[in-house]
């Protein structure tokens, strides 16, 4: 496996869907390749940073309105 092939398998590797023989060859390559190790770490960082986009506070007026709607539904 060369770097050009390894970079295209990064997501399959991270998602855990790489067949075990390919996984072994992937890990053997990574162990000896600084560039691909950096690339893999960066793909993981991209995912970690994307997760942070979920941390958006709910505007208080919207939260209040939704809670009211929930309470009213209970009374029906």
């Amino acid at each position: 496996m060369n770097c050009r092939q390894v970079v295209e398998l990064m997501t399959e590797y991270i998602e855990g869907t790489l067949p075990s023989d390919e996984r072994t060859r992937f890990e053997e390559h990574i162990a000896g390749c600084d560039g691909c190790r950096a690339y893999l770490a960066q793909m993981r960082t991209a995912r970690t940073l994307a997760r942070r986009l979920a941390d958006e506070p709910v505007p208080p007026t919207i939260e209040r309105e939704l809670l009211d709607a929930f309470r009213n539904w209970r009374r029906l």
Partner: protein
């Protein structure tokens, strides 16, 4: 399928537990907004979509049978509301670029081929971020670069990366929600993450 799964959030909601509902709003509002923006573009419209989706959830809770998780059910409603809103908007506004032809399902390389030598090994490998302070890599400004990179993606990649990486759905759940194959999900996710990584490489160099 068919079997109702164990879901404490669903049971609490059906029992009218307000605190449980509030906690759900706080956990899901951000990812729901990002998902809505995948379809409608404009933030104000996306906020309307999320609110309408929540109200739909509240009104339909009695009919929710729990064949999927509560989270899957809620995000499925967001997708439906957002898609129908987009259809309405596209009658007024030209949104031709939305489902433009894109390479989301292509297996073409995601890395510039000139970066590899004829042996397929890196000629110019990605610069390591080990020497960049973690406070810079994880700073809010860096998160904004990721947001911009995701917003620039073709819609098919955007919905997958938002569900998987922003909303935190498990791999199989994403393909089920979108009605695509697990293989398509992985290809689109790969292209999306590669594009985000590339944007970060440019920003952090």
């Amino acid at each position: 399928m068919g079997e109702s799964i164990n879901d404490p959030d669903r049971d609490a909601l059906k029992a009218g537990d307000e605190a449980a509902f509030q906690s759900l709003i706080q956990r899901y509002h951000g990812p729901m907004l990002r998902l809505a923006m995948t379809y409608v573009g404009d933030r104000g419209v996306a906020e309307d979509v999320v609110q309408e989706a929540w109200l739909t959830c509240v009104r339909s809770l009695d009919r929710f049978e729990g064949r999927s998780s509560l989270k899957t059910w809620i995000f499925g409603i967001v997708i439906n509301v957002a898609r129908s809103r987009r259809r309405k908007e596209s009658r007024i506004l030209p949104f031709a670029s939305f489902w433009r032809r894109d390479d989301s399902d292509s297996h073409r390389p995601t890395v510039d081929q000139s970066r590899f030598g004829s042996d397929g090994m890196w000629r110019s490998g990605p610069p390591s971020w080990d020497n960049i302070p973690e406070s810079k890599v994880l700073a809010d400004e860096t998160v904004q670069q990721v947001r911009a990179a995701i917003e620039a993606l073709p819609a098919k990649q955007r919905e997958v990366i938002v569900l998987r990486d922003v909303a935190g759905f498990e791999p199989g759940e994403v393909s089920a929600l979108l009605g695509i194959s697990p293989a398509s999900e992985r290809v689109r996710l790969h292209r999306a993450r590669a594009a985000v990584r590339k944007a970060l490489e440019e920003y952090l160099r």
